[in-house]
Structures are given as C-alpha cells and as structure tokens.
C-alpha cells in the first residue's frame, strides 16, 4: 500500500519535471525539441482521452485504446500460457536427465540472444504458409508465438533451479520411502520450486506483454495496442497527444499483468514461511 503512494509520488515527480523542462525550453535552447508538438502539456494529454478517435467518430481515444489494450492482453495471455507450459516441460526434462540439462541449457540461454522480435516479419512470412488442416495460421498466431518464445526462457531457468532446490536430506528421505522419480517430482520437487517459480512467472509475464506489443508493431497486426501506437505516432502534427494515450495504455497493460501475477504469488505462497530469496 505504501509503495503505491510512493509510486504515485514518483509519477507526479516525472509530470512536474516534464512541465519544468518545457518551461526551461522556452527560456534557453535545449538539444531536443520541447515544443508543444513534440512534448505536449500534461493537461493536453489528459484531454486527449476524451477526444473522438477519428474526426466525427463515436468512439473516444480512451475507448479505442482500451479495446486495443484488451486485444493485446488476450494475445499476451495466450503467449504466456504456451511459453510457461513449454518452459515447465523443458525444466522437468532437464532436471530428470542430465544429458538434456547439459545439452539443452546452453541453447535455452542462447535462445535469448536471438532477437526474435527482429525476426517477426520472417515469422509472419513462414507462418502464413502453414495450415493445420482447416485452421489457417494467421498473423495473430505469429505474435503469440513470439510472446511465447520470450516467456519460456525465464520460466525454464527459474523452474529448473526450483526443481533442483531440494536439499540432500529431503532427497535421502524420499529414497528411504522407496519413492519413484514421479513421486519425488510431484511431492517434493514441484512444491519446493514455488518460491523460484513466482519471480520467474513475473519476468515471463512481463516478457509476454513486451513481446506482444513489439511484435504487433513489427508485424503490423491490427487490433492491438502496438499498432495503435504506430498509427497515432503518425498524427503527431495534428494530434500530438494521442500517441501518449496509447503509450499510457501499453503501460497500464503491463502494470495490470504485473498485478495479476502478484495476486497469483500471494495465492501460492500464503502458507509458506515468509523468507526472502535473494
């Protein structure tokens, strides 16, 4: 609760510095453009929420941004679920078989150096050729694929560490009970991994959102907030504040996802001792 207040204070501080910069910009020559076109006043941004999206249209900018953010949220969620499932599966395989840990882990890590988002146009190109029977791959699936790709890595690393977390005594205990590998996995390793999974879920969720929005931009998919940002950015000469509303929308989307994961965190760890994990 208190940190929320501090966050609001931080935001207020940024708003103040923004306006201050504009004031300074009228007095001295700054190395960047501080005009009302490049840097609209905060109140202009606020009023842009209620502007009609397109001249004569019924939907306000706010409604358009909300719809787009929701659309992106759905894509991000789909990517997140796929990424988390793949990540968990990989972690279980890597924990169980040393060969796969040694063989796959370097690639799992290296996968993150692949700028998949930069590959987005290529993914779309390949994707549009694929069809699973009656289901045609559309660009939205490519966006979800990219989001999943970015989400699986933090989760597989976190899950692997968590699955390997139980100490020697607990493992000896399970051996003394003649427990099978499956038993050890479900009754010991998975529960022990929760403190490691939760931070990883947060990172994965963030990655899904970022991946979705950026993939939307680079693939040109319609309906999402990424596309909206690019569209509004083109109107900066006439309506400079609209793009800010879109950016705020993307920010709120990210924050909403973070809050959701925190709720999951509280749910999963409410019965565990309150110790921190550095």
């Amino acid at each position: 609760m208190v940190s929320l207040l501090w966050a609001l204070a931080g935001i207020a501080l940024i708003a103040i510095m923004w306006e201050l910069t504009k004031v300074v910009g009228t007095l001295i020559s700054l190395p960047f453009n501080a005009s009302d076109q490049a840097m609209p006043h905060i109140w202009t941004m606020m009023s842009a929420f209620t502007l009609p999206e397109v001249r004569g249209s019924d939907t306000t900018v706010f409604q358009a941004v909300l719809a787009a953010a929701t659309y992106s949220l759905m894509l991000a969620l789909g990517g997140f679920v796929i990424g988390v499932s793949v990540g968990l599966l990989l972690a279980v395989i890597m924990q169980r078989f040393l060969f796969f840990e040694r063989g796959l882990l370097p690639f799992v890590i290296a996968s993150q150096t692949v700028p998949l988002i930069a590959l987005a146009p290529l993914i779309v190109g390949i994707g549009n050729q694929i069809s699973f029977g009656p289901v045609q791959w559309s660009t939205t699936y490519s966006v979800m694929f990219i989001a999943a790709y970015l989400a699986f890595f933090p989760l597989s690393i976190g899950a692997l560490r968590g699955l390997q977390a139980p100490n020697a005594t607990s493992l000896e205990l399970m051996r003394s009970y003649a427990a099978s590998n499956n038993n050890v996995l479900w009754k010991l390793r998975f529960p022990s991994s929760i403190p490691y999974l939760v931070p990883a879920l947060k990172v994965s969720a963030a990655a899904s959102v970022v991946g979705t929005v950026v993939a939307e931009i680079s693939t040109g998919v319609r309906g999402g907030i990424g596309r909206l940002m690019v569209e509004y950015a083109r109107e900066t000469t006439s309506q400079p504040a609209k793009v800010y509303v879109a950016v705020f929308g993307a920010i709120v989307l990210g924050l909403a996802v973070a809050a959701a994961i925190t709720a999951v965190d509280v749910l999963l760890t409410r019965n565990l001792p309150k110790k921190g994990l550095a």
């Binding site: 931080g10 060969f99 969720a205 959102v209 970022v210 400079p240 920010i251 990210g254 550095a278």
Partner: protein, 257 residues
C-alpha cells in the same frame, strides 16, 4: 579433463542433430526459401554478403554499445543515490518494478519527435533507458543487501558512510552488477535492433532484416539474423570475460531473477 568434456559434447551433439534434421527437412520436403531456407543457403548468403553484414552489424552494434554504456552509467549513479538517500530508492523502486512489464521500446516514437529522427540519438536513448533498469535494480540490491554483521563491524570501527561504501558495499555489489549487466547486454542489442523499425536511418541490421524480408530475399534475411545472433553472443561473452577478469575465483556469482 574428463569432466570438462562431458559438459561440451551434449550441446554439440544436439546442435549437430538439429542442423542435420533442418537440412534434411528442407531437402526432402523441397521447401522453398520463402518458407524455410536450408542452413546451407543461409551459410552461403552469409559468406557472400559478409562486407554488408559487417557494416550493418557495426552500425547497430554501435547504437547498442552506446546505449549500454549510458544506461549502465546512469543506472550505477542512480543506484548509488538510492543507497545513500532512502527517499530516492522509495521513489524509484516501485517505478522500476512497474516498468519491467512495460514495452519501453514504445517510447521510441515519442523520442523520435523530441530528438532528431535522422540521428541515432533516439535509439541510443531508448536503449539506455531499457538498460538502466536491470542495472539499477541489481546494483541497488548489491549495495543494500550486505551482511548485517559486516555492517556492525564497520560501525564498531567508526567508519564513515563513504568508507563503508568503498570498503564494503561496492565490493559486495560487484557480482550483482555483473548479473545486471548480463541481462542488460543482450537487451541492448535487441533494443537497438527493434528501435530501427520506427523509422530513421536504415543502415542497421534491423532495417536490413525487414527490407530483405519485404523483398522476399529470405535467405539473406536469415543471414542477417545470424549476424544479429552472433553480435548478441559477442556482447554477452565479452561481459562474461570481463567478469572473469574482475572477479576473483573465490567469489560466488550471485543468481538473481
């Protein structure tokens, strides 16, 4: 020697199997390059266009490097402030946590308007902002998460805050710094790449990938992708090399999420 080898052959084996299967798939299914180019095609394009690739990679790499540099310096500075003045930490920390979920790259159009779109400044700036947060979060943690017993020792020695900072907090924070740097470096490369999609000078890798794809020269596009991967790896491995030099072998590398 035996144990080192056992770490090396599994990934090599899997890589070989993967590449082999890929090549086989393309040949057997007679896949056209616009669907999935064969590894052999990519390799050819890569060696043919080496000069162009190098200059494009150099361009994007410079953007990434500058962004990484400024972001790291800014992050370090803010971390020192945050440790010294608890107010700064209280203000910035929730923002840093919140912004982790936000596509910061989305600021690029705004920065393109504020700064000269024809220069690399907006791209370097957005990269720097993206780099700043992992560095800030990790270094702050490293400066503050000191063993309380060690702090008591410094107090018993009547050490001034600046001395404690120099003698205790900063050395303690070094592994945390590298953790943050290892996260930030690949991010910087990707940010520099993606920022090129928002308009501006087109001689970087990102622009080239997009234009090659638009011209259906998919073999070439994948070759540029390979160049981007290599660049990302070079950044990452450089950081690891620096870390190995700076950190004595007795220090445990701290793993943080």
């Amino acid at each position: 020697m035996n144990s080192k080898l056992s770490y090396v052959w599994p990934p090599i084996l899997i890589a070989a199997l993967f590449l082999g299967a890929w090549q086989l798939l393309v040949v057997i299914q007679d896949l056209k390059p616009f669907l999935l180019p064969a590894p052999s095609l990519i390799a050819t394009e890569f060696s043919n266009g080496a000069m162009l690739m190098w200059s494009a990679a150099f361009y994007t790499g410079t953007t990434a490097f500058l962004g990484l540099l400024f972001g790291t310096v800014a992050g370090l500075f803010m971390a020192l402030l945050a440790q010294r003045f608890i107010t700064v930490d209280k203000l910035v920390a929730p923002l840093a946590a919140g912004l982790a979920t936000v596509p910061i790259i989305a600021l690029t159009p705004i920065l393109n308007n504020m700064f000269n779109i024809t220069s690399r400044t907006p791209r370097v700036l957005v990269t720097a902002i993206i780099v700043l947060f992992p560095i800030f979060v990790n270094v702050t943690r490293g400066l503050m998460q000191v063993n309380p017993v060690q702090l008591e020792l410094m107090r018993s020695l009547n050490a001034a805050p600046r001395t404690t900072l120099r003698v205790l907090r900063i050395p303690n924070a070094i592994p945390f710094f590298f953790t943050g740097l290892k996260i930030a470096a690949p991010l910087a490369v990707i940010a520099a790449l993606v920022a090129e999609y928002f308009g501006g000078p087109q001689q970087g890798l990102g622009s080239r990938i997009a234009s090659a794809a638009a011209n259906t020269a998919y073999g070439r596009a994948w070759a540029y992708v390979l160049a981007a991967i290599i660049m990302g790896l070079i950044f990452y491995l450089t950081i690891i090399a620096i870390e190995k030099c700076v950190t004595p072998r007795t220090t445990k590398t701290v793993k943080t999420t």
